[in-house]
Amino acid sequence: MKKINPEYIPIIGLEVHIELNTKRKMFCRCCAEHFLQAANSNTCPTCLGLPGAMPYPNKTAIENTVLFGLALGCKINKYSKFDRKHYFYPDLPKGYQITQYDLPFCLNGKWESPDGKFYQIRRVHLEEDTGKLQHKNIGDKKMSLIDFNRSGVPLMELVTEPSFHNPDDVLAFLKDIQTLARYLQISNADMEKGSMRLEANISLTKITKQLGIDEKNIKLPDYKVELKNINSFRFLKNAIHAEIVRQTNLLSRGEKIKQETRGYDEQTNSTYSQRSKENVKDYRYFPEPDIPSIVIEDETVAIIQKRLVESPWEKRKRYIKEFGLSQNYAQILTSDLNRGAYFEKLYRLTKKHHLNTKKVVDLMINKNYDQKFPTPQGLVLDLLKTIKTQSPSDEQLDRAVSEVLISQRKAVSDYKSGKENALGFLIGAVSRKLSGKGDAMTIRDKLTESLGK
């Protein structure tokens, strides 16, 4: 990757769409499942936009959006409403999308990055998904085919403030958002199935080096480039990077950057123009007259709040603090609710049985022992058995260590003069003496203990 010019800092805002996993659609009784279904089999007058059809809101979808907002520390609007957003496209049956404009369910949340920085979330709102288009040659004609099974599926949209400055934090954020949706069991947030979709707005601004990156000193540029239709975290990270390089080059040449929507080509690792924003769209938002405004009293929020679970980022912090895990291990263990729960039980059991906790966690993460043993109890039982049959007695170990320390003088003096890798050699030697019995960690501890004397 090319280096980014330090004179400019990127300003990145994100829009994340997550399809909720409710049983029925957002405004009708059709099943919301649209993956691998026969085309147009889950459709009705409402989600097809037939003459006379009307929306009837799905309470569960609203509650789950509020729940998600609460997990992000959002304020829940007491009065919210749905609005109509108008544009014409054949996958949008009514000629407008029911969404939320100025009174979303959730406002002003925040997320804490692994290195303790806070990022602001502007809002979380609820809307309906569109149908799905596919382009095909039929005979000698180029056609677009439309399936409305996805039309009207509840879609939650999260919008951040434009406060990200590097692709790594963006990626960490998005992974946490995905994990959060899964923790709360409101969506599988599956990128491949399109139940989680990403968009990033990117622009660059010049900074005065002495002032550094401080939100107070950052002036928002008068343009933004939207990156759309990117279907994996990795591609988005690459796309953001490529876009930053492209914009930096343009700006250093003194050129202006066009406000537009761009896609990402993974073959060439570059972004390309999709649509110019020169004719700004006028969506003609107005309050959806077919749905009364929605009142969410504090008591209702309190009931929903009871369903909250610890967020992935809070849990990660706790794992590091409480269990002394590395950032990396904490990240791995918190990315899956079940794995985290498994780990916590396992941790308690290893303590109870005086096992080497760090070693057990290694086995779980690197050797996938949690997949081999459905319960942590099973794993610990197995370990205890192995240790009994496999471990050398203390006496055997002592003897092997002292023999090696005598026979491998060169390595010992290397180690003492600071060559850390000599230790590995010594561990190997002790292990061979014990004909493979005993684990590296225990041998290592014993060796360092003896060498330290």
């Binding site: 049983k23 085309a39 097809l48 014409f88 095909k136 999709q274 929605i294």
Partner: protein, 113 residues
């Protein structure tokens, strides 16, 4: 002055020059009428008073039921392929532009013959 052509574009309507002229004149009269509202003081008016509480029994349970049979879903479609609705290839992110009335009508006559 109201830009009829621009508005028609937003609304995905084709209007002829003559129509644009006539509408422009008529809308001017109507806009004069509706502009009279400026005489009413609305400083302290609160909006969106029609409300339902999220806990009200007006909501349906999150259970799905049967949809329309695909045959009747597609029954009225002008053009379909297998169980899909179909349209002439849509280029990404382009708004559907209306065909001229003359073109559509002549096409329709051909189809009905």
């Amino acid at each position: 002055m109201v830009n009829i052509k621009y508005l028609a574009g937003l609304a995905n309507l084709a209007v002829s020059e003559q129509e644009a002229k006539t509408f422009g004149k008529q809308l001017k009269d109507i806009i004069a009428l509706i502009s009279k509202l400026n005489e009413v003081d609305t400083k302290d008016v609160e909006l969106h008073r029609s409300r339902i509480d999220l806990t009200s029994d007006k909501y349906l349970e999150d259970v799905c039921s049967t949809s329309l049979p695909t045959r009747s879903v597609l029954y009225n479609a002008a053009s379909k392929h297998n169980d899909y609705f179909s349209v002439d290839l849509i280029l990404e992110n382009k708004q559907l532009m209306p065909k001229s009335p003359e073109f559509s009508r002549s096409l329709n006559k051909k189809i009905s013959k």
